[in-house]
């Protein structure tokens, strides 16, 4: 039972390709079986993209392709060459945080911070699609991003705060979000 090696029919082969990440071109020579997650983290040192299961069961590895969130752990890198990819590292504008990042900091929406990059990107895609997203829209959009720390509540509050600000409103956090009732 223990002595049957996996049948390795083929050796990994390296290929070359160009990845357009956060507006920058990267020419990469990489093993053809690598997922986009692995290329981002291991070939491009963009370790802001995290991983929690590598099977599409947690949402942690979410990145944006053409603005739409996908699971980089289930994306064969080869299929995403020459395609605009956005990772959490691309969200800020220079030293200025994206309004979502700003609101996440302000509300305490990142506890351990491990699901945060994926959540931020899913939220960004949502708000670009629906600037007036309500709580239910947010819940629906984030149903594929597990968070074990926050119970999602501070995340909802942060997204709502950012959304309001992105719409140009003068929004402040609700007092009870910070102090309870």
């Amino acid at each position: 039972m223990t002595s049957e090696p996996i049948q390795i029919t083929k050796r990994p082969r390296k290929i070359r390709g160009t990845f357009l990440v956060n507006g920058e071109e990267h020419d990469v020579t990489y093993p053809s079986h690598k997922t986009l997650l692995e290329v981002l983290r291991e070939e491009l040192a963009l370790t802001g993209t995290k991983h929690g299961c590598e099977l599409g069961e947690c949402g942690t590895c979410t990145v944006l392709i053409d603005g739409e969130p996908i699971l980089s752990c289930l994306a064969l890198a080869q299929a995403y060459e020459n395609t605009p990819i956005e990772t959490v590292e691309g969200m800020a504008d220079g030293s200025d945080l994206h309004p979502l990042q700003e609101a996440f900091v302000e509300m305490g929406a990142a506890q351990c911070g491990y699901c945060t990059p994926g959540v931020l990107l899913a939220a960004k895609a949502l708000l670009e699609d629906r600037p007036a997203a309500d709580r239910q829209d947010i819940k629906d959009a984030l149903a594929g991003n597990l968070c074990r720390c926050t119970g999602y509540i501070k995340i909802y509050e942060a997204i709502e705060l950012a959304a309001a600000r992105m719409r140009g409103e003068q929004a402040e956090p609700a007092r009870e979000a910070f102090y309870g009732r």
Binding site: S32, E68, D140
Partner: protein, 326 residues
Amino acid sequence: MLRLPPCEARFPTSIAEAVELKAKYGPEASYVAGGTDLYPNMKRRQQTPYHLIDVRRIPQLDRLEVDADGGLIIGAGVTLTRLIRDGRVAAGWPVLGQAAATISTPILRNMGTVGGNLLIDTRCNYYDQSYEWRKAIDFCMKKDGEICWVAPSSPRCWAVQSSDLVPVMVALGAEVILVGPEGTRTIPAQALYHNDGIEYLTKKRDELLVSLRVPAMGTAKATYQKLRRRGAFDFPVLGVAAWIRPNGGGTVADARVVIGAVGSYPIVSEAAAEALVGHALEDDTIDAAARAAAKPAKPLDNTDFTIGWRKDMVAVYVRRALAALR
């Protein structure tokens, strides 16, 4: 990090090219679109094709249109998100979006395709495990082993049909268009499936699922009711698709009740349909149909939840589905 086995993708831009590639590489190759079913399986070494034929760049697979007869043509490569968001689909076939929106998560639905969902591998929690896990039980007959751990005396595999769209497509009388080296064939969706956990498809290995055609709903109504633990991620442990065509007098002219996730293929309940046809959707009729539909359902201990409860839930969910069509 759980990684893919060595593999390499090709990106054909025509059906012919894709079919040719598949014929060339044979069992070493697999068609793939969203990859949300195949890649997890590859990482768990349930399937290890080296050549991946990514069909998402074939224009015909990207079609989403209404044909001259009012039928809906869905290219196999249309993502679930696109299906859900399409206005014509929402207006003419609302059940499709309703069912598709229950599949996994919004992020996964941006990748997963209609074709992929129709072909997803049957599932079993003795099978959907890592290579190392499966080794600890000396594997199962679906991959690398001899027996079916769900029913060890069984000569067959009991892995579960776990697609949300399959029962709906069968209920709606959809047809699927397959292209292989021997040409094109069009078969009813129902005929795509086999009652076997391993050979669950009648599609030949080299055939490519190109598209589906869903007939116009006309006066018919349909719904899909899904049972699962959580509102996202989870595969169905029970899926009920019900389609009803009423006649003018308020009775049922035609009906189809299809039960998913309680067997290796979608179970079409002829008995439930019989109980409905000619009757109004009164409580008694619905009850009779629900009881009839529940009979052939045979949940086994290879998904979430207990089998007795899953069996009990069949009638409940059929009843709810039919009540929703009143």
